[in-house]
């Protein structure tokens, strides 16, 4: 049966020649002219599109099967068999432990709350004290002028009795 008869009866997809061409196109074995002609046919012929999809599906299946010759099942079974079995009692949290855990959470939350509520006033007071320190006039003698007169009068008379003149006739009692 000629290609023309095939094409009329079964369409492009059943034509052996056309299927071979599609196969060659997928395998990149056609030249540019034939490739362009076949691609334009693929755009118009739905049966050819179906054949194109079938060939790709067959190709994917074949490529997938090629990887199946690596059989790792036996090796994995051996490793699983050889690996030690860990026997552990299941963990059931006791009510007391649970309470302790919740207690810790509560404590942490309380600390966070206190820090959050106290931090701002603390930083403000620290800032205020720092500002006060910066603006405070340096002084060695934080006493009012009224008391200063006594301080300096005392100093004039008693700064150092070894160095200042002593009143005549005044001696330490023996």
């Amino acid at each position: 049966m000629s290609n023309t008869v095939h094409r009329r009866k079964w369409g492009f997809s059943r034509c052996p020649k056309m299927r071979e061409k599609i196969s060659q196109l997928i395998d990149s074995e056609l030249d540019e002219k034939e490739t362009a002609k076949l691609l334009s046919l693929l755009d118009t012929e739905a049966s050819l599109k179906e054949a194109w999809s079938d060939y790709h599906l067959i190709g994917d299946a074949l490529r997938a099967n090629r990887m199946l010759h690596v059989d790792v099942r036996s090796a994995v079974s051996v490793r699983v068999y050889q690996s030690p079995t860990v026997v552990a009692t299941p963990y059931y949290p006791s009510p007391l432990r649970s309470l302790r855990t919740w207690g810790r959470y509560a404590l942490a939350a309380s600390v966070c709350f206190i820090v959050m509520t106290q931090w701002q006033p603390l930083t403000e007071s620290l800032r205020a004290s720092l500002q006060n320190d910066q603006v405070a006039k340096p002084t060695l003698h934080a006493v009012s002028d009224r008391d200063n007169v006594y301080f300096f009068a005392h100093q004039e008379m008693a700064a150092d009795q070894n160095l200042l003149p002593v009143m005549p006739g005044q001696r330490a009692p023996s």
């Binding site: 340096p138 006594y150 004039e156 700064a159 009143m167």
Partner: protein, 320 residues
Amino acid sequence: MKKGCLWACLFSIATCCLAVANDDWPLLGRASRAGRDLPLDGVYLHQMNGTLETFRLTRVHDRDGVLERRLALDGIPREIIRKNSLFTCYAPNKKLLIDARVNVMRLFPALISDRLDNVAQSYTLSRLHSDRVAERSCRWLELKAKDKRRYSLRICVDSTTALPLKTMTLTPQGDIVEQYIFTEINLTHPVNQAELKPKYKFSSPLKIAVPGPAQNHMASRVEVAGLPTGFYLLRALERSLKPGRADGVQHMVFSDGVAFLSIFVEPVGLAMSTARVLNLNGAINMASAARGEQLITLVGDMPKPALAALVKSIHVVMKP
């Protein structure tokens, strides 16, 4: 026989103790003189009332006597120059001169009087452990007050020169009120006299009340009762506390050889008559109270509670 040996041992131990104790007083006298006159170049710290300051002290002897410069290395710029018994304060401006004057109050290491003859009435002297200050070995001496009305003083005296290298003023409870300590000191190399020149422009000489006939008269007509034992009258004068005014305030200075106590007596109308007790500077406290028509004010290096009690119990009588 055995009893005789025992008594001999006790006698020898007692003699040794007495000998050591007798050695301590001359050592304190040496410390007093060295603190006042020994040539040196050093840096010391002064700690009081939660503050710490650093000073450089340079002292030389020239043909005119003792020349000394005390320069504040931190804080408010100021310096004090001493020529024998004359003090001059220097500062970069006039306002800071008052801070320089404050530092003349206690002139480390000259904190101890060399008139030690009556100190023993009020203090016990004991020798404590050895120590090391500013890379020099020293020995602690303690002047412990016999009552709770005055401070005790601990002095670490240099093993070679007897210079006080560190002093601590302690309350009767044993708390440190004030302390001085040399951090570095040079006692051997000569100091260039150029280093003793003041670097600041403004100066103010420290006024010294020079004793005269008026003071003698004043001292003869004043009677003070109720003072702690050991205090004797050092100076007395009638003065004004404000420049340009003749207020007629009686000022008497007493000392027990270690502490100084000023007594001011003035009419109540001249000052506020509210009773007050306050700290003025380091170990220096003040207490005042009205007694009849007199306002009595006490200033001295004595504990605050002692001054507060004393101002209530003291009796000052001025004879006509």
